[in-house]
């Protein structure tokens, strides 16, 4: 085995993106964990109410939304890898694809909210729907910020004078956070019993 092959097999260790973004990601995760803890605790205090309210959510929409966000995470991961080897065309395409999946998620979420409100389930209807609208709403804000972040990545990738791999990785790290927070929210709101 040649030295070159050995180097390919074992790439140097690196922190993806700026360490500040990782500090932010871990902090945000802690904040969301606190919300989730309160939600689970209050759920156990009134299980019947939570079960009956939860039954009004469509699990299939939740599964669809999760698969869409996972697709967006996959495409932003491909974007980072393409940019790393200098393939900026495919990287840009993947960044746009990520934004497209994000948009599909956004539309699906708005549709789901409208449907729930039409069914008479608003923010103040009961404890379950307060948590539902609060958790999905705050995640939605993170998603909107995600579009700005993707815009920064696209702006970086478009011009050779601006391209910064570290910034592209930082943007991707934020987008993945939006994804894994949804993975948790989906499990807790739609499937937990």
């Amino acid at each position: 085995m040649t030295t070159v092959t050995e180097n390919t097999d074992k790439p140097a260790k690196f922190v993806p993106g700026q360490p500040d973004m990782w500090a932010f990601v871990l902090f945000e995760t802690l904040v969301f964990t606190a919300y989730f803890g309160f939600y689970l605790f209050y759920r156990t205090q009134n299980p019947e109410l939570f079960l009956h309210s939860q039954a009004q959510l469509d699990l299939r929409i939740g599964v669809f939304n999760t698969l869409i966000l996972l697709l967006s995470s996959w495409s932003v991961a491909r974007c980072v890898q393409s940019a790393r080897v200098g393939a900026y065309g495919p990287a840009l395409k993947d960044a746009f694809l990520t934004a497209f999946f994000g948009l599909v998620f956004l539309c699906s979420k708005v549709f789901e909210w409208a449907r729930q409100i039409q069914m008479g389930n608003g923010f103040g209807s009961n404890d379950f729907f307060t948590y539902y609208f609060f958790l999905t709403g705050i995640h939605f804000v993170h998603l909107l910020i995600g579009f700005v972040v993707l815009g920064v990545a696209i702006y970086q990738l478009r011009s050779p004078v601006r391209r910064s791999q570290e910034l592209v990785e930082t943007c991707a790290t934020y987008w993945h956070t939006v994804d894994f927070l949804w993975v948790l929210i989906f499990a807790l709101l739609y499937v937990v019993r």
Partner: protein, 97 residues
């Protein structure tokens, strides 16, 4: 031409399978009359599966696998912390109800 990364595809397929697995869990959580009931087993399994998915996203999509040991340990500690907080809240809540 950039080489297609099969590993990322496999990661997505695993994450998608776990997600679709929730449909089966949801179906089996219903009783014979089709109504919903509380279940600590379902809740624990759902939380553990979600955290496995989060760890896969950390390691594969977020490239923690190739990061220095400190970040690997830190993200693993975070996943454990979330597990303790969520399962703790659920079981403490159930116990004092």
């Amino acid at each position: 031409m950039i080489k297609f990364n099969k590993r990322l595809l496999v990661v997505w397929l695993v994450l998608a399978s776990f997600t679709l697995g929730y449909l089966w869990i949801d179906h089996s959580a219903e009783d014979h009359a089709g109504s919903l009931r509380s279940s600590a087993v379902v809740t624990s399994s759902v939380i553990v599966i979600a955290l496995i998915k989060v760890r896969i996203i950390f390691r594969e999509f977020m490239e923690v696998r190739q990061a220095p040991v400190l970040l690997c340990r830190l993200t693993d500690a975070w996943v454990l912390l979330i597990a303790v907080a969520l399962l703790g809240s659920y079981f403490i809540g159930t116990a004092i109800r």
